[in-house]
Structure formats: C-alpha cells, structure tokens
C-alpha cells in the first residue's frame, strides 16, 4: 500500500479544485442558505458535476461509471469541502453508488446505477433513530406480509433525506435493539405511499430530514443484499462513508486553516502582524502537524478501501476519529484567531465551525470511533 495519489487521482483532485474555486466559492453556499433554498444544493451545479462524471466514480464502466475508486471520489469531496460546496455527491455518489454496486442484484444495478451516473437519481441512507449514531440500535421493524414488508416508524437525521429519490433503509427483520444481527437493508422509493419527509433546519444549513414511515409497503425484490445480513452490509457501506466524510472534514480543516493563516499574515495589532506573535505561531504549527496526521490517516483509509485491506474497519475508524478531532481543534482555533469578526455571520469562518460539529456526528463521533478502534484492536 503506497500512501500517494496515482496520477489519475491527482488529476481528479486538481479538476475538483478548479471546479470548486471557480463554480462554487463559499458565496454559493451562503446564497443558498440566505435564500432558505429548499434543497440547499443547486440543480445546475449538480448537472455540471454529473457532466464531470462524479456521481459515477464508484460505478463500474458497464453501467456507465468510471470505476475510479474510493480514493478518487474522496479527493473530489476533499476539494469541494474546502469551499463548502453543497451537493448530493456524498449521499449519492458515495453511499448510493457504493451500496448498489457492491450489494445490489443485477436487476437493481441496471435499474439504478445508470440513473445515478446521469444525475437523474439521488439517494439517501436512513439508519439512525435517535440523536447518536448507532446502527445496532435500530428499532424500526420491517414486518413480512406476503411478498411485501410493512414498515412503520421514524428515521432521524437522514443526509439529503429532504430531496433524495431513493431511500436505503435499515430496518429490523428479527432480533432486538442492540443486536447487529437481524437487520436488513431495503431500497425504498421516496415517493412511496406512507412516506413523510420533514426537512430539518440544522446549524450547518445542509440537506437533512427526519422521515416517517407509515404502513409503507416494500416488495421482497427491494431487499439490498441479503435478508438479515444488513448489519454487516451497512457497516461496510458506513465504513466507506466514514472515509469519504473524513476526507471532506480534512478539506474543511485545510480550508479553515488556510483562511486563518492568511488572516494572521494580514491583520495588524499593536503595530505588527498578529502572525508574528509566537504563541499564535506555535498554535498554528501544532495545527499544521494535526492536519498532516489527518492527511495520512485519510490516505491510509482510502487506499485500504481500494485495496480491500483487512485493516479497513480500523482505518475507517482511525480516519473518522482523527479528522473529527483535527477539525474540532482547527474550527475552534480559526474562530478565536479571527477575533471579533470570526463570530459574525458576515464572515465565512463561522460556517466551518457549524459544518465541523455536524460532520463530527455523521456516522459516529470521534468518541464512538475511538471506542470502536479500541474494540477492533483488542484492548
């Protein structure tokens, strides 16, 4: 395993950087937020991303994708995160594309993958039912009735849930809350009868929803993967999602740090540049080190995913933990070092703080993953 980007991956990264800088500077995100946009992402921008082939990065060529791998999609998300580019790429291009490619039946693949590739279909993953991520705590039951399953209950904090066309639903087909056994994944059309999506207004102004399921009928053929093995399947999907999210968070941290460095080099106090104060210099140097460690952790996890390493789970938890802690530190320091303007809504740096805390919660906090890392490491 070599911890460097291939030429292809570097090319994807460079393309994404130019795209984000030119087509989606932070003003784009601000404008969507200020106008209380119903999607909180922009259809035209998504069409452009589609033209660049991004939703199909994880999808095999036979379904129209480019099969560039986890590293490929993650470096794109990393660059987009630097300008807080809002889009359904994470929930669709990572989660949806990976899930169906790896666990879908041939029929499901043919039905959905080409539509993901051409930007027609967006997806979301509905797992959690309370304020803290924990797939084992799934309580919603999918009850077998004939060749259908009937689902009742509420899923919370579904990413892109307010807009997604297809919901990947984790439900219990046996066992009890707390068990990873007895879970099953289903593909559910989001306009199915009995589905009520309630858009959430969260601190980071992204697209999330609570979703109510009331007597929703799901045919047998919409099971993703195998009956009762959804626990394993969803953990695999989540691990990929965690790595991609860690890469996003790294991008957030890199950008917030960069903005802060720029500020330190421009802002004068007491007649000198504040970047010349040694105490701030040392704190900046420490942040630099943490960001370097995060880069390596994310790189290790991306490569492990692409190479099918048996270290994948541990590296996924490692990347999510380290990225979470680094972004936590950097987002706080960035605001503090900006002083008064840092806490005004008019200035962009506060967006990173809000984004940081929500991202920290996505698919498990640093504490959740520190414990998982310890469990996986045997101590």
């Amino acid at each position: 395993m070599k911890l460097v980007l291939t030429e292809e991956e570097q090319f994807l990264k460079d393309t994404a950087k130019s795209f984000a800088d030119e087509r989606s500077p932070i003003t784009h995100f601000r404008s969507l937020r200020d106008h209380n946009d119903p999607l909180l992402w922009d259809q035209d921008l998504w069409n452009e991303m589609t033209k660049l082939g991004w939703p199909g990065i994880l999808i095999p060529e036979e379904y129209g994708g480019s099969d560039f791998g986890i590293t490929g999609i993650s470096v794109i998300l990393n660059e987009c995160a630097k300008t807080l580019t809002p889009s359904p790429l994470f929930a669709t291009g990572v989660i949806g594309a990976y899930s169906i490619t790896n666990f879908g039946t041939e029929e499901q693949k043919q039905k959905y993958l080409p539509k993901i590739v051409n930007g027609e279909l967006t997806t979301s993953l509905a797992i959690d039912e309370s304020s803290h991520h924990n797939p084992a705590n799934t309580e919603i039951i999918a009850k077998k009735e004939g060749s259908n399953f009937i689902v009742n209950g509420k899923k919370t904090f579904v990413i892109d849930g307010a807009s997604a066309d297809l919901i990947i639903l984790l439900a219990r087909t046996s066992g009890n809350k707390g068990d990873m056994a007895g879970l099953t994944l289903f593909l559910v059309n989001s306009d199915s009868k009995g589905i009520d999506k309630i858009k959430l207004d969260m601190a980071d102004s992204r697209n999330y929803a609570n979703i109510n399921f009331s007597e929703v009928e799901i045919p047998d053929s919409n099971i993703l993967g195998d009956l009762e093995t959804g626990g394993e399947t969803v953990e695999d999907i989540l691990d990929i999602g965690r790595i991609a999210m860690a890469s996003e968070m790294l991008g957030n941290a890199e950008a917030a740090f960069e903005m802060t460095l720029d500020y330190l080099k421009q802002r004068k106090q007491f007649g000198v540049l504040i970047g010349s104060f040694q105490a701030l210099q040392h704190r900046a140097a420490e942040m630099f080190c943490e960001i370097e460690l995060t880069k390596s952790s994310v790189m290790g996890a991306m490569k492990a995913a692409d190479e099918g390493s048996n270290e994948l789970q541990r590296l996924s938890s490692l990347a999510k933990t380290v990225a979470g802690e680094t972004l936590h530190l950097v987002s706080n320091e960035a605001v503090q070092m900006h002083g008064g303007i840092g806490v005004t809504d008019e200035y962009d740096i506060g967006f990173f703080l809000k984004r940081a805390r929500v991202a920290e919660q996505i698919f498990g906090s640093s504490k959740y993953h520190t414990e998982r890392y310890a469990n996986l490491s045997g101590f």
Partner: protein, 400 residues
C-alpha cells in the same frame, strides 16, 4: 429602636405598598415579563414594569448610594444592605438593567463636573435615558487604544467622524459614551478623550450585527460629521485612556462570572452536561453509560468545581480581585466554551438543531448558546490578551 431598625421598618412598608404584585416572586406566570432597560423609547408589555421603575427611580433606589442631589438614594452601606435584604424577602425584581448604572455613573461620579453629574445622573437613575458604550472599532480589536474615530475641535463643538463596533443595544440606546481621538499627534494612548454623544444628533446611525449564533444585541455605530457640544467631554482632554482602563477592568470581572453562573444556573434545569449525557447517551447504575464521554465529563466537572472554589476563595480573600481578574476572565470563558462543547457533543445531532418544529426548544437554544460562547473569549479582552496580562503583570515575565 435604632435608626437602622427604623429604616428597615419604613423600607418594608414602602415596598409593601409600592412594589406591584407582578414584580415580586410568586407573580402570575401568565403576565408577560419585561427586560427593563428604560430610555426614551422604552415599551412595556406589563404596565407594572413601568410603575415599579418610576417608583424606585423617584426614590433614587436604582443607585441607592448615590447622593440625593444627583437623584440617588443617599443611603449608607448599611442601609443598602437592609434594602437588598428586604427586596430579597419579597423576591422583588430588579427595576432596571442599565449600562448607565453599571458603567457610566461611576465614571461621572469620579470624573464629571458638578454640572455633568446634575445633568446626567438623575436621568440614568430614573431610567429616562438609556446608554450604550462606544469603544471598539473595526480595526482596533485587542489593540483598543489604536482607535481612529476622531473628534475635531471646531470652536464650540467637537466634530466627530468614524465608526464604532460591538456597541451593545446601540439601536435602542439614547446616548452613547465613546472613546474618541482628540490628539491625533500625541502618542496613541495620550490622544484619547471620553465623550458623551446624544444619538439623536444628526449624523449618528446604527446597524445591527448578526452573529454566528443568530441575531445579537451588538451594532455598528457610524458617526458622520456629528456635532457634539464641548461640555460633553468627561475629564481632561486627551486623558480618556485612564477612564477607559478602569471601565475595562470592571467589564472583565463582569464577564468572568459567565462560566460559573451558567453552570450553576444549568444544574438541575436539565441544561447541564450530566443530565444531557444521561438522557441522550443512557444511564447504567446511575452512571453515564458511555465510558468515553463519562471520563471527559468527569474531568470537566472537576475543573468546574475547582474553578468555583477559586471564585469563592477570591471573594473570601477580598480585595485582590484586580490581580486575578484576568485569570477569571480567561478561565471562565474558556471553561464555558468547553462546557457548551460537551453539552453539544452529548446531545448528538439534536445539539446542532437550528430551527423548526422537529427540534425541542432547549436543543435549539443550546445550539445558539454554544455558538455564542465563542465570542466570550474574544469580547472584553481576548484570552490571548489575558494570558499576556498574567504573564507580564502577575508573573513579571520580561518584555522582549
């Protein structure tokens, strides 16, 4: 019966007759509650708020120790203690919140002319004029003395031009007390004056500032060829920095209490990290179930306890406050930030609720309170400034 007992009896009787029912503990909870700041344009949801203010203001009891000739209560310290005790007994609400009382009045008493005291103190005490503070400027930050708003002497008046920022409630205030540059050629600390400005004067405008936590009491205040009578100068020309330093110390001590006060107020209300963690992360044999959060919360609670004891010790020791004010400001605000981070983390995604019916009011308030804490370690002197002050003034470390 000695004089003090007599005073107690009179006070008790007066309060009994004059403190309206809704201004006491046990008030009807359906009656709306006002935050009474007074001023020309004050509005009251509950008319008794106004009655209570007027009656207390008339007696001068909003500033009970100020001499009667300036509209104060003219009471002795012992009498003030009695007044406070009797108000506490019936749970009487404080009649007036006021930067005029907290900040400007002490300055006027120390530096104002007889005329200035007679002009301004009674209106502060009666809550007729609401004041705001004009110190910071967009470019100044921690280096407050670098302020650029200038006041030119044009004979009869000062002509004021410039901009202030972080002026709390400037959009609601009647007058502003401001630091302005009157000596552009003097060394920067020696060219500053302390000036009172009526905000109805032509050329004064304000604009509210939205913070990352949402709306805020802060404003930007602009001065565009504002004419200010020369009699509005407090103290000597170019000697405003001395006044400013005193006020800043006062403000620092004020802010440092935020952290602990918040923790004390939070305990038992459900808005404390232990209750949140137990509720959201689960409880097992009375313990927070998740041991990774538990260990971090335990360390935090220990620090909080130690900080509380430190505030108490400082009080018990008495007098030494100024040497440690920087420590309290630093520690209080940093601890408060950490406390909110822990509450947010323990709340999971609900701790990041912003708006809408899907979330509990408490959670939405927590999110905004958490974001608001980020400003506490910046306003009133950043944490970095406090560290500088401690290392130089308390520890005597050398300057380069």
């Amino acid at each position: 019966m000695n004089d003090l007992d007599k005073f107690r009896e009179d006070t008790k009787n007066w309060l009994d007759k004059n403190c309206p029912p809704s201004m006491r503990s046990g008030a009807d909870p359906t009656i709306p509650v006002d935050e009474v700041w007074g001023g020309r344009n004050a509005k009251y949801k509950n008319p008794e708020s106004k009655i209570w203010l007027d009656r207390m203001g008339e007696k001068g009891w909003t500033m009970p120790t100020v001499p009667k000739e300036y509209g104060g209560g003219g009471l002795t310290k012992e009498e003030v203690k009695v007044l406070n005790e009797e108000m506490f007994v019936i749970g009487a609400k404080s009649p007036l919140l006021s930067f005029g009382i907290w900040m400007l009045a002490p300055v006027l008493l120390e530096y104002g002319t007889e005329e200035q005291k007679k002009e301004h103190l009674p209106k502060i005490i009666k809550g007729e004029i609401r004041w705001c503070q004009g110190y910071s400027e967009p470019g100044s930050g921690s280096d407050l003395a670098s302020l650029a708003t200038k006041a030119e002497d044009t004979g009869d008046t000062f002509l004021v031009n410039g901009q202030k920022v972080w002026t709390s409630y400037a959009d609601k205030a009647d007058w502003i007390f401001a630091l302005v540059r009157t000596g552009p050629k003097e060394p920067k600390h020696d060219g500053i004056s302390f000036l009172l400005i009526d905000m109805e004067t032509k050329g004064v405008t304000t604009k509210p500032i939205t913070l990352i936590s949402g709306k805020s009491p802060f404003c930007e205040t602009f001065f565009d060829d504002v004419e200010v009578p020369k009699g509005n100068l407090i103290g000597e020309l170019n000697a405003g920095w001395t006044i400013a330093k005193k006020l800043l110390q006062h403000e620092r001590a004020f802010i440092s209490n935020f952290g602990l006060a918040g923790a004390v107020a939070g305990a038992g209300s459900g808005r404390d990290v232990v209750s949140i963690a137990k509720k959201r992360l689960g409880e097992e044999n009375g313990k927070i179930k998740n041991s990774f959060y538990r260990s971090e919360i335990a360390s935090h609670k220990i620090k909080e306890h130690a900080f509380g004891l430190t505030l108490k010790r400082a009080g018990d020791e008495g007098g030494k406050a100024s040497a440690t004010a920087s420590m309290f400001k630093l520690y209080g605000t940093e601890h408060n930030k950490k406390r909110h981070e822990l509450m947010v983390a323990a709340s999971g995604v609900d701790g990041l609720a912003w708006d809408g019916d899907e979330f509990d009011e408490n959670d939405k308030n927590l999110t905004r309170a958490w974001l608001r804490t980020k400003g506490n370690s910046i306003e009133g002197g950043t944490s970095e400034v406090q560290l500088n002050v401690i290392s130089k003034r308390v520890l005597g470390l050398p300057t380069q």
